[in-house]
């Protein structure tokens, strides 16, 4: 696969590993946070820690929109399918995520609710057109990468008069989460887990560009390297972060130049601005209420807002006692530090957001990292 396989080349990986070995200073730790679940996945799937010196520490952040969606919102989605009897269209990721009372969208489907997995918002629109007598709701999740496709669907529904289509919007924005990690008392004041540098998200950045990260680099004096999510990208980006830290720089650098530009995808950004606006606050599972971190549908598209159409009200569902997700998401603790990890909390039986999706820190560690390095 062109432009994919080349970035998985083992020989080049060895060169990068050697260069990292040469340039890493022995007298310090390098705590590098990857914000993005795709990076967590690449790090574990390709065994990248094996190729790194021991003083490089990968810290796994909350870059998983599935993981950070509060259970109450999934309860809302299930309610739409079961009680309001809509055709609920969702991406595959959400089907198995546990909601309250040990239920899930997949279980609701097994009990007769019309829950359908789709690959694209276009599929959801097609389902709406094919079923004019049913209400079709698209369960929208994801960061800035996944938001423009939802915007397209809403605009198209308005243009074509697809009146039985609406969207349950749970889109979230990245900078708010990064800010929350950097602002948390443990990190800022007490200096616990100094997150020394960030791997910037690959595809969120393809939309928002590299410009929004300049604030973080300057304000918090930490380097950011926008990294592609193939393993060579991750290693090259690690090298760039190490160099910045060695030289005392804190700049935004772009390793993923083949996809990411300074301004990003202007067409997508404008489209999103036409359809969505920021909520004052939105709950992130494990991180609490974060200001200006979530999107809602603007009034001019109110007809397509499932929250208005179905009068969706907040369902409060709290996480389990003993769950260390809030600390793990901020990079303060590791999965192995959580008492519930591997005992009560497993991928079969996830207790908190970090185990819920395969991109979560705990799930990734369980799947890939549990064996002992010899």
């Amino acid at each position: 696969m062109k432009y994919i396989d080349e970035f998985r080349n083992q020989e080049v990986a060895q060169k990068l590993a050697q260069a990292i070995q040469n340039e890493t200073k022995q007298n310090r730790q390098y705590n590098l946070m990857e914000f993005c679940g795709g990076h967590t996945h690449a790090i574990f799937r390709y065994g990248i820690p094996d190729l790194m010196p021991d003083n490089i520490n990968f810290v796994h952040g909350p870059g998983c929109p599935v993981c950070v969606l509060p259970m109450g919102r999934i309860d809302n989605a299930i309610k739409l399918a079961v009680e309001d009897e809509v055709i609920l269209c969702t991406y595959g990721d959400m089907l198995r995520v546990p909601a309250s009372n040990r239920t899930s969208l997949l279980k609701a489907k097994a009990f007769g609710a019309d829950v359908r997995m789709v690959y694209s918002t276009q599929d959801a629109l097609t389902i709406a057109k094919d079923n004019p007598n049913a209400q079709v709701v698209f369960f929208a999740i994801g960061f800035e990468t996944t938001t423009p496709p939802t915007a397209v669907a809403i605009q198209q529904a308005q243009k074509e008069g697809i009146k039985n289509f609406s969207v349950f919007c749970n889109h979230i924005v990245t900078p708010a989460a990064i800010q929350s990690i950097l602002e948390s008392p443990e990190v800022r004041d007490l200096g616990m887990v100094s997150v020394d540098g960030f791997f910037g998200p690959s595809h969120v950045s393809s939309i928002i560009g590299t410009q929004p990260y300049e604030f973080f680099a300057n304000e918090y004096q930490r380097p950011v390297v926008i990294a592609g999510f193939e393993p060579l990208d991750v290693m090259q980006s690690a090298l760039m972060l190490i160099r910045q830290l060695n030289e005392g720089r804190f700049e935004v650098e772009n390793e993923y130049t083949r996809v990411v530009t300074y301004e990003g995808n202007i067409k997508s950004k404008l489209l999103v601005e036409e359809v969505f606006e920021l909520r004052q606050t939105f709950e992130w599972r494990g991180l609490g209420e974060l200001p200006y971190s979530g999107l809602k549908i603007k009034d001019c598209f109110a007809d397509f807002d499932a929250e208005k159409r179905f009068n969706i009200s907040k369902i409060n569902a709290s996480d389990i006692k003993g769950c260390e997700c809030p600390s793990i998401l901020r990079g303060i603790k590791k999965p192995a530090n959580c008492k519930l990890f591997g005992t009560v909390c497993t991928p079969e039986n996830p207790m908190g957001s970090c185990m819920v999706s395969s991109e979560g820190a705990c799930a990734a560690h369980w799947s890939y990292g549990r064996y002992e390095k010899k």
Partner: protein, 329 residues
């Protein structure tokens, strides 16, 4: 619902479709049972329910799948499959033309395999209570003397061999499902493996384990075997045969090919000294052309399946909870 409750309509259905296509002496006696004699010895018996959706896909359909599936389950003990039974649950109103296609396909699969479908049953349920057609097949076979193949027999040092590419069937099923359609030239690998097994067992009677990695794919089946035998497994990613089409499809949907279902593949765990000979024997068979040694059995109290990646690092290939689903994240 006249078909399930005996009567003329039911008899007509059986006569016209099943007896006509399955066409063998035992079935055409039209009794509720088939009576036969076999040589003395150990017998192997297996049952499987088939609920695949969609019912028709490139490379097969629920009919051929059910025949191959049960023949394979019996063959994984080293046994020679003898007879099959087939039980159908049909949704009322399911198009007879499609049913006939499925029946013809079953008949061909059984015929090609040299195995007869000797008795069967049909029930019809109300519309809305089924996916069109559900098929349950039972198979029996004879286990040759001296063959002792079981999931708990893997030993440290054993070689692990597969007969061909992984993930073909599952990818084809995904691509045929609504809302996931993508264009591919791939076909299901659904096939009866008993003649391949016969060749293998002939050359290496001391094979320790055989299992077909169906639902859950190679990874799940190896985890099962590791647990059953209380050992660990070490795989080499670069040795595992996977078709480029499967790699691309899995890439697109965010799936790991190691967990994708196969229907014409087997995993063989054998003593190291038999591995090379077995490999050449398998390669000489049409269903083993792409056979490869993909790893070895190691000592491990955790019963992990580990894999040395193409990239150079090592990762665990763990159990998965439920069926792998396409993801966007």
């Amino acid at each position: 619902m006249s078909h399930g409750s005996g009567g003329l309509a039911m008899t007509q259905l059986i006569d016209e479709l099943f007896v006509k296509h399955f066409d063998n002496e035992l079935l055409s006696q039209s009794n509720d049972q088939a009576i036969f004699t076999t040589e003395p010895g150990r017998m192997a018996m297996s049952v499987d329910g088939h609920v695949v959706s969609p019912l028709f896909f490139p490379g097969g359909d629920i009919g051929s799948l059910s025949v191959h599936g049960t023949i394979n389950d019996v063959a994984m003990s080293g046994a020679k499959p003898l007879y099959l039974t087939a039980s159908f649950i049909l949704e009322e109103g399911y198009p007879l033309l499609d049913l006939e296609k499925i029946v013809i396909s079953m008949a061909k699969a059984a015929n090609d395999a040299g195995v007869s479908i000797v008795t069967g049953d049909t029930k019809v349920v109300e519309k809305g209570n089924g996916d069109g057609v559900f098929i349950t097949t039972t198979g029996i076979g004879i286990v040759p003397k001296g063959i002792n193949i079981s999931g708990n027999r893997a030993q440290v040092g054993d070689a692990i061999i597969v007969n061909g590419s992984m993930g073909d069937h599952g990818v084809v099923i995904m691509s045929s499902r609504a809302n996931l359609e993508f264009e591919t030239t791939l076909e299901s690998d659904s096939a009866a493996l008993h003649t391949l097994v016969a060749d293998m067992v002939n050359i290496a009677p001391n094979i320790h384990c055989l299992r077909d990695p169906t639902r859950g794919g190679l990874a799940t089946t190896l985890n099962e075997l590791a647990l059953q035998s209380d050992v660990g497994v070490k795989l080499y990613e670069s040795e595992i045969p996977i078709k480029p089409g499967v790699l691309s499809s899995c890439e697109l949907l965010g799936l790991d090919p190691l967990y994708v279902a196969n229907e014409g593949k087997l995993i063989c765990i054998c003593p190291k000294e038999n591995a090379d000979q077995l490999l050449s024997t398998m390669k000489a068979h049409p269903l083993g052309k792409d056979a490869a040694i993909i790893g070895e059995v190691i000592e491990d109290n955790n019963n992990f399946v580990q894999m040395k990646t193409k990239f150079g690092g090592t990762r665990i290939v763990d159990w998965i909870s439920g069926e792998q689903l396409p993801r966007i994240c």
